[in-house]
């Protein structure tokens, strides 16, 4: 058993989960800043994003060191590759939380405005996807990751519905088009976060099963016609 190597893998996992926690709370805070129309909460999102960016650099460095120094193979190689990809996804989740927080500052100017779409419901769905994707990573369970993939279409539908509602509202209340645009872009950011959660789930499936399920493909576990014969 390569103890130092195993420690490196464990540390990498821990750091990524820590970063996942930061990304998850950034989404929650961004949504809260919108709900409460509170600029101070938005400020917390900006602080959180700095920590996420620092984590991204540290995790990249650790992953590259493990690749260079330990030459991982098979499941370990897939694990490090998955971590490096999930790392990028979580960093983007942080950026999108910042986008939501910035838009919520604009919306906060209109304290009396009733937002015509259920952002809280959409946020709950998106946060659940991110949490489940991270749980699947923690527990190495591809069935949990698979469930995340199924949820993506629900969030897509919510975004489409929000689009229709907001466009109708813009026609009815053209003076507030700018604010409705902000809300529309918030739903778009939430939908993009769901896409990143999907990417994370796909990376977990790749790590655990060695299967590439991106773009509805299924590679690596299919029988290989070019495979040589053996006993």
């Amino acid at each position: 058993m390569r103890t130092r190597f195993q420690q490196g893998l464990d540390e990498l996992k821990e750091r990524l989960l820590e970063m996942g926690g930061l990304a998850e709370s950034a989404i929650e805070l961004a949504s809260e800043s919108l709900r409460k129309r509170d600029g101070r909460i938005a400020q917390e999102v900006f602080e959180r994003e700095k920590l996420i960016n620092e984590s991204q650099r540290a995790i990249d460095e650790m992953g590259v060191d493990l690749l260079a120094m330990q030459q991982p193979m098979a499941t370990d190689l897939r694990f490090v590759l998955a971590v490096l990809k999930i790392n990028s996804d979580l960093e983007r989740v942080g950026d999108l939380a910042v986008n939501i927080a910035q838009r919520s500052l604009n919306v906060a100017q209109e304290q009396e405005l009733v937002i015509p779409v259920d952002i809280a419901r959409m946020t709950t769905a998106v946060s659940t996807m991110v949490r489940r994707a991270l749980e699947s990573f923690l527990s190495a369970k591809s069935d949990v990751a698979q469930a995340v993939l199924q949820m993506d279409s629900i969030v897509d539908r919510m975004k489409d519905e929000a689009f229709i509602t907001l466009v109708a509202q813009m026609k009815k209340d053209p003076e507030r088009i700018r604010i409705y645009m902000d809300v529309l872009l918030i739903t778009r950011s939430l939908e993009r976060i769901a896409d990143h959660a999907t990417n994370i789930a796909e990376d977990v499936i790749f790590w655990v099963n060695g299967t590439d399920v991106r773009h509805n493909s299924r590679v690596a576990t299919e029988p290989d016609s070019d495979r040589p014969a053996s006993q």
Partner: protein, 253 residues
Amino acid sequence: MGVGIEVNNLNAWFGKAQVLNEVNMKIGPNAVTAVIGPSGCGKSTYVRCLNRMHETNPDARLTGSVKVGEMEIYAPGTDAVDVRRRIGMVFQKPNPFPTMSIYDNVAAGLRLNGFTRRAELDAAVESSLRMAALWEEVRDVLKKKSGASLSGGQQQRLCIARALAVQPELLLMDEPASALDPISTGKIEELIFQLKTKYTVVIVTHNMQQAARVADYTGFFLMGKLIEFDKTEKIFTTPSDKRTEDYITGRFG
């Protein structure tokens, strides 16, 4: 051109100890196949069975069949010396004939096979040394320097040139770079990659990164059995057998 290899139900013993157990493997022509596994797994015995070198040990015996191209190498009446001429072998430790010049080292096999015409020998020596990526380094000292005067990496490439001179159909290499520094190892690996355009190559290595770098196919042996045989990228990214996974990730034992 290289030839394909078909190994069926191969079993091998040293005395009463069985070192290979029902090995089956089919390798296409012009590919590099790596054989990996822990010490004592039977990987060196396996390649020695592919050119009838196993039987040079007085206690050794085997059953099963090995077909190289159209030749069943264990068929009654097949001449072991002819088999070894058609199937070249390079060993872990470079073993040039120490007192012979570089030229004579490469020409030795040809002379044993009855080649005596100077022009033919000159052409074969040059083309073999070129294929072994050694020509430029030794062309001016071909007859002045002995094989033993070369560096370890050069000696190994000389041995490869010597094996190639008799135009084998298959080239076996038993840990050919394990005694070499990283630069010489890189040259040998590059050479193996080039050689597969003309030859079928089987290489035994305990260096998994080397197997990953040079081989198209990899077979994992454990306690005399071929546990898994597949495309190299499959073996090193998503092996099918847990024993392969445990070995290549270092969790073995």
